[in-house]
């Protein structure tokens, strides 16, 4: 795995992400400053980590989406390169047009940090192959604006194409308002683009990869990416 982690001013989970990628893949990822116009040679995974890029001023992710480095990310994604955006990274991907929809303020208008359950909707993608379809995983969320919204047509297409990969649910895998803590449309926690190579998700799998963190359910996502890239290489 040759991962590149984008660093925008105000991003704050880049170190968590780098540590997790190193832990799971054995390779140190490259940190790429937002002002760069190219990705490091041989990059096979771009990660946009969580945080508050540009202080979340204007709109979450709106300024970062227009950073110089995002041009390179668009080109990389267009060629089929894998892009993972977590939390603020998801917001940036939506703002940059690489994913449809938008993340609005949580339904209760408060920042929420807690463990949530996610149902893995399918396992035949690079981002979910470390899990079984229907498997329930526990990962933390930490955001104020993770309430996914899109127009009805987009939502229908996302569902029809099987592009919702992760959904908020109960510990048993039940999906419904009771378990949809931030009010996201269709309990959406993570989606991919049409080609299936760009994933955006609100929860932080990188914070559940060691026993010390209380849970290791997040490992599967990264282990799946490693397996996918090894197979491709």
């Amino acid at each position: 795995m040759k991962a590149a982690i984008l660093v925008f001013p105000g991003i704050n989970r880049e170190r968590d992400m780098a540590r997790t990628l190193k832990l799971i893949s054995g390779h140190e990822p490259k940190m790429v400053w937002h002002a760069e116009t190219e990705l490091p040679e041989g990059t096979d995974l771009v990660v946009i980590p969580g945080g508050f890029s540009y202080g979340d001023y204007l709109r979450c992710g709106a300024i970062a989406a227009r950073s110089p480095v995002m041009g390179a990310v668009r080109a990389f994604a267009a060629k089929g390169g894998l892009v993972l955006g977590v939390c603020n990274g998801f917001q940036i991907l939506c703002e940059s047009g690489l994913l449809p929809g938008i993340l609005m303020r949580n339904a209760r208008l408060q920042f929420v940090c807690r463990d949530v359950h996610l149902r893995v909707e399918r396992s035949d993608t690079p981002f979910t192959r470390g899990y079984n379809a229907g498997q329930v995983i526990r990962v933390p969320v930490a955001h104020g604006e993770g309430n996914y919204a899109a127009d009805a047509e987009t939502l229908t297409r996302l569902e029809g194409d099987g592009r919702v990969l992760y959904r908020y649910c109960s510990a048993n895998g039940d999906v419904g308002d009771l378990h949809n803590f931030n009010g996201a449309a269709a309990s959406i926690a993570g989606i991919v683009n049409e080609k299936g190579n760009v994933l955006g998700m609100m929860p932080h799998p990188e914070n559940h990869v060691e026993d010390v963190m209380g849970c290791t359910d997040g490992r599967g996502l990264f282990a799946g990416l490693v397996a996918h890239l090894e197979k491709a290489a």
Binding site: D16, G55, E210, V212
Partner: protein, 739 residues
């Protein structure tokens, strides 16, 4: 300079008074400089000599505090305290209040409180790894309380979450005595290499003094002076003196500062906190035995037409002052430009020991730099000790309801309910090192990749401090020490945040002196020195003081995070041990107040020898692996502690009736100190008991874990689910206007 400067008002008695300077303090200024001060100078004196910056009422009593231990690298007097945790690493930490601003503008007041304390920590070269806080609000039924809780919590979270530090623990309390004066005490903890700590003292003459960070605006002018005055009904009009926080700018400042420190550019560094440019520049010069010449024309400003007076007193946030190695100045500037931050040379060190401020070609201030700090007024204010309150005997307290009914009620009070509604608004997992999240006795945060970890806590019991300042002071330290012990940590050092009323009243001063006396006794007995702190006085509204609230922030060390203990029961069928003596002390207990409606009596006495002996034994049991669950007993007493252990695990307990010698309500709800609940597998029970008895530690088996109810012999059982429902729902219901 005896005439007023251009555009500056003349110095009149009214102007002097409006700067919070008493007539005799002004006389002191005249004597010191031998002439009438300029307006700018008057502002500088008011900033340096107010209570907040000069500690003029408390300094004389703070001298008696124990501040030394072999592991203390830096005690009080710097931006933060520093302790050695081995492996070439040091922990840098401090707690500070932002009370007055948080009452006037709760969101911004709280954000800048968090921002200020984070800056204190990274100014010393440490990367912040955890935040904690202690929040005290007025009575739930007070009209402003909801608004204040909502704003302060959002502000604490808003800053820490964006900055990127986990907020892992704290305290939230409600009491009518905080109605007009809530408290926001924020603590930050950072990690540094022990040989790379940065200090404020400048060195070398003619060294450039560099201004870094955000631009200077008109916000927060005289913030520190406001923090040194009482409130009245017109205080809401003080909103313009509240600073505005920008966590994004602070995050950039953090990264830029750590980068230039790592590149070896920095000689001295001081953050601009209270009294901004004035305090930071004077501190750097005075500590280095040097003078400072500032040229305000070079200060980056956010607004046009700012006067020298405004620039010197602005408390705009996210700013730093540094002395850089001249040969590294260009490299440092490039790093700051990369992070998009302002960088300006605003002055030089001089050999004169004078503090000279120039603006538009004029000398606006020329003062002796050492005397600005050293000659600040020092008061030995009159103080009277609180009258001792009578000891309340359990036999004189009627139990108005059965034990389990009282438990159900207590667990759903503002005092004892779950504070999840608060801490879920704080990112407590960022960093990937949070081993124990909020809700336990102490938070546990792994140090880098481990195996070491820090145990962190904030504690104080203000009602005890009010009833008996000396015992209350002892209890606050003992409780912090116990919290750290209960997770398996070795307590190392504390930071104290002393919140009191108006020190000009002898009874308030008596509370401060009494609490400090108790704190000092406990620090010595428990080998738990104070390495940093902050004093917040004048916490009064319309002549009524807050409960004396000396918040104690404690830091402890675990050799191996995998051996930390938690309070949740681990399995059914385990023996539950009560460690420490139980006499059934109901005076000042939550039971007496919230069940019997009596806020009375002497608080439980603190036996520091028993604290140390019992705690050391419990820590040993955790280390050896015999203890499976551990919880210290505090507010609410034994049964509340047991209920917390049950709710955390979903595992119940079957408990013996109270011993005959003790009344049932006193046994279950008394708040005797130096106690813990520990569970052990039954096969170890006899060995453990005999070991404890051998070292003189009182210990009784009080029941077994198991089931999904709490069953007390002779009482109606209570389901854990029912307890949990009340425990978890009080605060969210209250905030939604339903309670």
């Amino acid at each position: 300079m005896t005439r007023p400067m251009r555009n500056e008002p003349a110095i009149t008695p009214e102007l002097i008074a409006s700067h919070g300077l008493k007539p005799d303090e002004y006389e002191r200024i005249l004597k010191l400089i031998g002439r009438t001060p300029t307006f700018t100078e008057l502002g500088i004196f008011s900033a340096m000599w107010n209570e907040h910056c000069s500690y003029k009422s408390s300094r004389i009593h703070l001298r008696g505090l124990p501040t030394k231990a072999p592991w203390v690298i830096q005690g009080p007097g710097e931006n933060a305290g520093v302790i050695d945790i081995g492996d070439g690493l040091a922990v840098v930490f401090k707690m500070e209040s932002h009370n007055h601003p948080s009452y006037i503008e709760p969101y911004q007041g709280a954000t800048t409180g968090v921002g200020g304390i984070l800056r204190d920590v990274f100014t010393m070269g440490a990367r912040p790894i955890a935040c904690l806080n202690a929040l005290s609000f007025g009575a739930p039924e007070h009209l402003k309380t909801r608004h204040l809780v909502s704003g302060v919590v959002a502000g604490v979270g808003g800053y820490g979450n964006s900055f990127g530090v986990p907020t892992v623990g704290g305290q939230v309390r409600f009491h009518t005595r905080y109605d007009g004066n809530n408290l926001v005490n924020a603590m930050a903890v950072g990690l540094a290499e022990s040989d790379k700590i940065f200090y404020a003292a400048a060195s070398g003459v003619n060294m450039p003094i560099v201004y870094l960070g955000s631009k200077t605006g008109r916000d927060g002018i005289h913030g520190a002076t406001m923090a040194s005055a009482e409130f009245d009904d017109a205080s809401d009009e003080k909103r313009p003196t509240v600073q505005v926080g920008d966590p994004f700018a602070e995050k950039l400042l953090l990264e830029a500062c750590l980068e230039i420190m790592g590149a070896g550019c920095v000689i001295a560094i001081q953050d601009m906190g209270a009294a901004g440019l004035t305090c930071s520049a004077v501190e750097m010069g005075a500590k280095g035995d040097l003078g400072v010449d500032l040229d305000l024309d070079s200060v980056p400003t956010r607004e046009t037409g700012m006067s020298a007076y405004e620039m010197m007193l602005s408390e705009s946030q996210e700013r730093m002052l540094m002395v850089l190695k001249p040969e590294k100045e260009k490299q440092a500037e490039a790093i700051f430009k990369k992070w998009g931050l302002d960088f300006a040379v605003v002055g030089y060190t001089t050999p004169t020991k004078r503090f000279v401020v120039k603006h538009g070609g004029d000398v606006m201030a020329d003062l002796p730099i050492k005397e600005l700090g050293d000659e600040a007024p020092l008061y030995d204010r009159p103080h009277v000790a609180s009258e001792p309150l009578p000891i309340i005997h359990a036999r004189d307290v009627n139990a108005p309801m059965p034990v389990t009914d009282a438990l159900v009620k207590l667990i759903a009070t503002s005092e004892l309910c779950s504070k999840r509604w608060v801490w879920e608004q704080y990112d407590h997992v960022i960093g990937g090192n949070t081993v124990q999240r909020p809700g336990g006795d102490a938070a546990v945060v792994r140090v880098q990749d481990g195996p070491k970890a820090l145990a962190l806590t904030v504690d104080v019991t203000p009602r005890y401090c009010e009833a008996d300042p000396v015992e209350g002071g002892k209890q606050a330290v003992a409780e912090a020490w116990r919290n750290i012990t209960a997770v398996g940590g070795k307590p190392l050092a504390i930071t104290d945040n002393l919140n009191f009323g108006n020190p000009e009243r002898p009874e308030i001063m008596g509370q401060l002196v009494g609490c400090l006396n108790g704190i000092a006794q406990a620090c010595v007995a428990l080998d738990f020195p104070i390495v940093s702190g902050n004093v917040s006085l004048y916490n009064e509204t319309n002549g009524r003081g807050i409960l004396p609230t000396p918040s104690i922030g404690g830091v402890g060390l675990l050799d191996d995070f995998q051996k930390s203990a938690t309070l949740a029961f681990k399995a059914g069928g385990e023996a539950i041990l009560l460690i420490g003596d139980t006499h059934g002390w109901l005076g000042q207990s939550v039971y007496l107040r919230d069940i019997c409606g009596r806020e009375e009596g002497a608080p439980p006495p603190v036996d520091l020898v028993a604290e140390k002996r019992n705690g050391d034994v419990v820590r040993g049991m955790i280390k050896s692996g015999t203890a499976t669950a551990v919880h210290d007993i505090s507010d609410g007493g034994l049964l509340v502690a047991l209920a917390e252990m049950a709710m955390a695990s979903g595992i119940g307990a079957v408990l013996d009736a109270a011993p005959e010698a003790t009344l049932s309500h006193a046994w279950w709800f008394g708040e005797d100190q130096a106690r813990y609940i520990v569970t052990v597998p039954v096969e170890h029970l006899l060995t453990v008991m005999s070991k404890l008895r051998a070292v003189g530690v009182p210990c009784v088996e009080i029941g077994k874990t198991g089931g999904d109810t709490l069953v007390i012999e002779g009482e109606a059982p209570v389901a854990i689910a029912k307890l949990k429902d009340g425990f978890e729902s009080w605060l969210p219901n209250y905030m939604a206007g339903k309670a």
